[in-house]
Amino acid sequence: MTISTEQEQLWVLQARQGNQEAFARIVEAYQRPVFNLAYRMLGSVEAAEDAAQETFVRAYVRLDSYDPAYKLASWILSIASHHCIDCLRKSNGRQVSLEQIDGARWIPDPRLRPEERTMRAEQRHEVREQLQRLPEQYRLVVILRYWHDMSYVEIARVTGSTESAVKSRLHRARLMMADLLTEAEQAASVPEGERRLTESAVSNRV
């Protein structure tokens, strides 16, 4: 996806004057990243498509507030991020404040640390599932870091937080993810013989 900034700014200018053709070009250019962000955040194709569509509609309505000093992609993804977080909060009904999450220390469970292990290819689908178990703000930074290849500064701008908050969320997200994946792996497919072995390894460690 290589679109020149000049081309992009021209589209924005035309779309602001009500040219929907120009806006359609913007949608085509950014549908993939926006859909993927929503898909990873919300976990289902239907919810993701709806959220991604709504993101573009909001971008169109608010096009006047876009500051051309920033990347158009960052601006659109920022709208998408906020909308997805809103969707999740509405559907969950629970309100966990970010201060609560950031303030709490994630303590890695030592029993979930076998001496040596590597991620197998068939575990990838588990990654997708476990990602949904991360707190939404953690999931968001992971998604922006890994699927959108963003720097700390860009993630901070998109999520409306600071660079140090981004670093610490990524750190905690990685620790949690490591534990969740191991947990899932142990729960899912450990043959009886091996299970006894693992259990004895665990009791040895404790």
Binding site: V27, R32, F35, V45, A52, V57, E116, R117, L175, M177
Partner: protein, 181 residues
């Protein structure tokens, strides 16, 4: 180095964000701390798994459906604007016609004296005509401004101005019949 610091550095290393000094310090800690080097292997494999996930394709016709939604939304927006302008005009009309209406009411009250009736009637007609002229002019300006207004902020400005004008007019119009008596 404390294990907590080492853990933070590991995460930064995965992003390639460590200085040479920090790299060396982390390696030194990992060499002597079994718990941290287990964590490190662990974190690495979790992040390999992240990287291995591929991008999903948006559903077919996604862009077309977005544009349909954009069209619906902007139609709704312009409807709302039109509704607002009708409301504004109605507001102005109602205040502008207060004076002539008052005059008409006073006609029914003083229907017994004929000269008074004629003069009030003429006054009312002249009032309505002058008001109608002003209203038409104002209507044109307001509608033009509303249709070409680029943002809601400008629209809100118009709304405020119209409200002020309407209130001022209402006050003036309500005062006049009282001074007539």
């Amino acid at each position: 180095m404390q294990c907590q610091t080492a853990s933070e550095l590991m995460s930064l290393r995965l992003d390639g964000a460590l200085s040479d000094d920090e790299e060396r310090a982390l390696d030194a800690h990992l060499a002597v701390c079994a718990a941290c080097s287990a964590d490190w292997a662990h974190m690495q494999s979790a992040c390999d798994a992240f990287s291995a996930l591929t991008l999903a394709e948006p559903p077919a016709q996604f862009a077309a459906r977005v544009m349909q939604r954009v069209q619906r939304r902007s139609r709704r927006l312009s409807l709302a604007r039109a509704g607002l302008s009708v409301l504004l005009v109605a507001l102005m009309l109602s205040t502008l016609f207060i004076a002539p209406l008052r005059a008409l009411f006073s006609i029914t009250e003083s229907v017994s004296s004929v000269p008074a009736l004629i003069s009030t009637l003429v006054g009312a007609i002249v009032g309505v005509a002058s008001v109608a002229g002003t209203v038409l002019g104002a209507l044109q300006v307001v509608l033009k401004a509303l249709i070409s207004s680029p943002t809601w902020l400008v629209l809100a400005g118009y709304l405020a101005i119209c409200a002020v004008v309407a209130v001022t007019w209402a006050r003036l119009a309500l005062r006049r019949p009282q001074t007539d008596r």
